[in-house]
Symmetry: C3
Subunit: 303 residues, 3 copies
């Protein structure tokens, strides 16, 4: 009983669910049903199920953006191309700045760790490998969201401790993804520039960059006036110092604004978005469409 | 305490959430999380998040259709191209015919007022401008759904009164949209006609018209037998009296029916839909596709 | 009171909702609102609303897959091209293997029966025809999900017995669909084969077959090594014995695996899926796309 005492002030009754299941099929709904049957009364919140299939990196970015706004509960994340193989199922637990616990359940493929550390503003200290329930006869093992992760999340919601779910593992052994590219440099003409990855294209076509407002401050980007956007640099030749040749001499100008509504229709801009990242946007239009840029590409900002 | 007394019989524990956020991203999920953290146990119902980006008018129509079926609670509506600008955030409160309160939270851009008045069957009498919380350091102000509207909705769910959210404003100052077109007239051949706007194309391709069954009654459209659908009139020349030249002489015939299933596959019909509006439909087929008509276009019915 | 006693140990507070309403419109949200207003506190779980419009068969398959994972409650299923016609609205009740009750509410068009019997592992014994509430003035009868089925589901959640919803009907009179094709046979070259229908293409492009692992066992398909996939047989000529001419001599080889991750990227495989059915899949790719196969087509497996 002593172990469960610290959780008492924070009844764990919320599950935050992210996956690449889509909603065309019943995958996400069945996971909801499993949680409802095992932990009645739990609030299950769908963060999104539209992570592109198998895109662990996109799922990780999305969780990192979401966690600062979550209360205590369990993050259930399933983007899992390795389901059924030897990859581990894991559960992590961290303390939110408020002191309340937030747990993470899902595959050990890099999906969860960055978000757990962003939530805690500290390294992960507690992790377990989920013990696998006996396989169901005549059914394949291709739906761990239903068969492994949802039961684990439900158990946490009904008072189980992390260690009840499996054997402790070394947090240092968790699979991690490489972070998004943010590199300072200089163009050949001597101007300072920042080379950074597009980490997310949202529904409106806004391009979120890996660079944060803090990165911009360090790099000295003046977030007033105009900033130049170089042609994107995804596969072209590079200088020996890693900077792109392909910067358009008369690059596109982005107007630095605080709100989408400051831009004329179709005008391109640069703003600090609601997650604290730089974003290339357009007035009531899709910057992604008109610039033909996708997540994972590199952009260069110069000033 | 006296002010909160009237609300006691109607615990406000439901939020009805509509937006243009889509579900591809985590926007809607994060708003759910903010409400769950601040008002645990609230039932948050997604009306839809697929309002076309920035389409305040489509959002307003959707809310007007939904409100007759909502119980007491808070309508949270976010279609907000002006986020971050000087446009106001507002909260409204009306009494449902049952006497129970229904509140509305969102931007002051016309999204909410028509639905509030439809719910109350009366003008809006109580409105406040939402007081803005302090900006978060190093984060942009582009996500009022999360940072302004969700906290306000959660506050209402936990017992706050409307006036606790901000200073009262004159309901007459609220931004309003122009209503859908419904105009009676006569064709050159003398027949009576009704010129009316397509306000909604639903998933099945049904075309909801601005004209209601009451409009049809006033105009004298016989909703039995057949009605003629003129070619659509979106940009063509008009008679001095505002009636279209382009009416197809041998217009398409719509069979008046009570149910989709009365139509043969692909047959076009006219029915009174579940919201009391006239709708141009097709048997197990998309009228929008086969007629190549979109929301916002004008149709002419003649008989 | 005696009749309601058996339900007491299983408070019916969950609704499992499936439809072809999509989520672009407010249809599903309004149904949620009606249930929330009539049965506050009910957990409504969306199985999916993306059943293709009017595709009763796809809806039935989806419910059959989902029911083994549902606890007690009410399945609300609405794929209903006959709405407003003389087709009946029905409610069914079965006992889960646990003894807890699971009810089904929706149209009598074949959508519900197979799932009810799969849930109970027994024939349906209790069915009623839903009594229709009085029509609302000036509104059409095209939204039974909102006006007939949701109120019935809410009534069950608040303690109504099945017989409170309408007059009993003979379960033998319920509309049923024909099951998916699973036929053993021999190719002209003497090899054993199995001719079976694609019943579901999921988000990842996996092709679920009507044949289960039990069917494979009976037919003698060795689920190790490789199995040959014949060209699909949807409309071609057939032998007098019903077997296809069109089997590709050097048919595509499917590697039998237990997990997607065992396949190389784009490699085709055959596995027993999480529902116990055979499935044709591809490594991190869409088998449906690369084989150009859709639900309803027939495939032939040979070995």
């Amino acid at each position: 009983m002593a172990e469960t005492m610290p959780r008492d002030p924070y009844p764990v009754r919320a599950v935050f669910f992210l996956s690449d299941y889509g909603t065309e099929d019943e995958f996400a709904g069945v996971v909801h049903a499993v949680i409802a049957a095992r932990a009645p009364g739990t609030t299950v919140i769908d963060l999104t199920h539209s992570i592109p299939p198998f895109d662990v990196r996109a799922g990780s970015h999305t969780l990192v953006r979401a966690v600062p706004h979550l209360g205590p509960g369990v993050v259930l994340g399933v983007v899992d191309p390795g389901v059924g193989t030897a990859r581990r199922g894991i559960a992590l637990e961290v303390a939110l700045p408020s002191g309340a616990p937030l747990s993470f359940v899902g595959p050990d493929n890099g999906l969860l760790v960055a978000a757990a550390e962003a939530a805690a503003e500290a390294p992960v200290a507690h992790a377990v490998e989920l013990a696998r329930p006996p396989a169901q006869p005549d059914r394949g093992s291709t739906f761990d969201g239903r068969d492994l992760f949802a039961p684990a999340a439900a158990a946490l919601c009904t008072g189980a401790a992390l260690e009840d779910l499996g054997a402790p593992i070394d947090p240092g052994s968790l699979v991690r993804l490489i972070g998004g590219v943010v590199e300072e440099g200089r163009l050949r003409d001597g101007r300072a520039c920042l080379r950074t990855e597009v980490t997310w294209v949202d529904r409106y076509g806004n391009l979120q960059l890996a660079a944060t407002v803090a990165d911009a401050r360090v790099a000295g980007i003046p977030l007033i006036g105009r900033v130049e956007l170089a042609a994107r640099v995804d596969s072209g030749p590079q200088d020996p110092d890693g900077l792109p040749h392909s910067l358009v001499p008369d690059g596109m100008q982005l107007r630095c604004v605080d709100a989408f509504g400051e831009l004329g229709q179709g005008e391109f801009g640069l703003l600090v978005d609601a997650n604290g990242h730089l974003a290339v946007v357009a007035g009531e239009a899709s910057a992604a469409h008109w610039l033909n840029v996708a997540a994972g590409e590199l952009l260069v900002l110069a000033w």
